[in-house]
Subunit: 236 residues, 2 copies
């Protein structure tokens, strides 16, 4: 399923100044004057759930800021199995590898409907010359992604299925900081923590029976965070 659903709408760069995610986004540190030096269009992209933004190995010249929605980054094993190596959420950047001359390193697929900004790499390079601070921000982003990757590795590949799922649910809940969490497909959940869909399904069903999870709405679950934390730490 290719990115047929990508809508492209040319935008004045000036709009970035008032972007909903400007503070958390790449341009947070820029001054008003800097925006005048953006000479190539930054495009608005809408990506519907299940569609692909880019594929592993493609050479592109765009990087993306995620304004809304959730995107998964996929890698593949020799045997064809796939593994989700990261989730991206509001404010995150995708495709930074373009800046250092590499092709995209993953398949990027929307888990929900998404809104993004597509930024041509040359724009970043131009801005970087006037505002070296942009490079520091970029380095900080890379470092953050690296730290996340390390945590992902330690948390989601060790311990029992029950522990891993508890950790995953906690991590999916935190961003909103309340107790609601959207449940993705069992297959996706499995691909994040290295378990089969059946095991994920069984474990989640059991958590529900024990009252740790409660149905809220269609795809949302309420959860007992304290209990999840105990399970995650192997105390239960």
């Amino acid at each position: 399923m290719r990115a047929v659903a990508v809508l492209e709408i040319g935008l004045e760069a000036a709009k970035c100044r008032h972007c909903a995610v400007r503070d958390s986004a790449l341009f947070a540190g820029l001054h008003e004057a800097d925006f005048r030096h953006i000479h190539r269009p930054i495009q608005d992209v809408a990506l519907t759930a299940q569609h692909t933004l880019y594929r592993l190995g493609e050479r592109g010249e765009m990087l993306f800021t995620l304004r809304s929605g959730i995107i998964k980054l996929l890698q593949y094993l020799p045997d064809g199995n796939q593994r989700i190596v990261r989730l991206l959420k509001r404010g995150d950047i995708l495709g930074m590898e373009i800046l250092v001359g590499q092709p995209y390193q993953h398949d990027a697929i929307a888990l929900s409907d998404c809104g993004l900004c597509a930024i041509p790499a040359p724009v970043i390079e131009q801005l970087g010359e006037r505002q070296p601070r942009l490079y520091r921000d970029l380095m900080a982003r890379w470092q953050q992604k690296l730290a996340e990757a390390d945590t992902w590795l330690t948390e989601f590949t060790t311990g029992t299925a029950r522990e891993r799922i508890a950790r995953l649910l906690l991590r999916l809940t935190c961003p909103d900081s309340d107790q609601a969490l959207p449940l993705f497909g069992r297959e996706d959940l499995g691909a994040m923590i290295g378990l089969t869909t059946e095991t994920v399904s069984r474990t989640i069903a059991e958590l529900r029976r024990q009252g740790v999870l409660r149905d809220c709405s269609a795809n949302t679950q309420g959860c007992d965070q304290a209990m999840l934390r105990r399970i995650a730490d192997g105390e239960e």
Copy 2:
């Protein structure tokens, strides 16, 4: 075991020009003139096997270039178990997180005797102002580490013990590109791929019985790379 074995020898920065790993190291892109602007000492550090270079959570101001030896980066699970998230080899940089104001993110422990250069963070910042290219190199390094982390995740957390160990052995062999590979302790091997020491031991013993591995010298093994590759891909 703290870094009691660290020997520090003040060096003239000028020596970096003739460093054994200069081409592959951080300063590869610098010109002769740039070296005159290094005003703080870059120190030579020797770290013996099993000793700690820095610990998770410490605030330091040094980053390090690894000239020789191998270093493991460790993270911990809530239950106290540890996981090796990355291996560093000749030419790699440790502690880059210092540059973006973070404390060290891992325990860094030598797997073999190591030689390093300790570079104060301010030196990088000074050089970066005259040579923006340094920032690009740093970004490329971060990206490379991130790609490695993703591969590590996909290769070493999926499939049977046999497959994972084959993949690990291949990855440990490749750097030297011949067929010799140093075998670390079983416990370390297990911490890299999420298996117990017993399972690692059993699997390696079996590979030896099948002739895929042969004893060479004390800690070195010869291996049948073609066979390992078949096993790694799940064909055997």
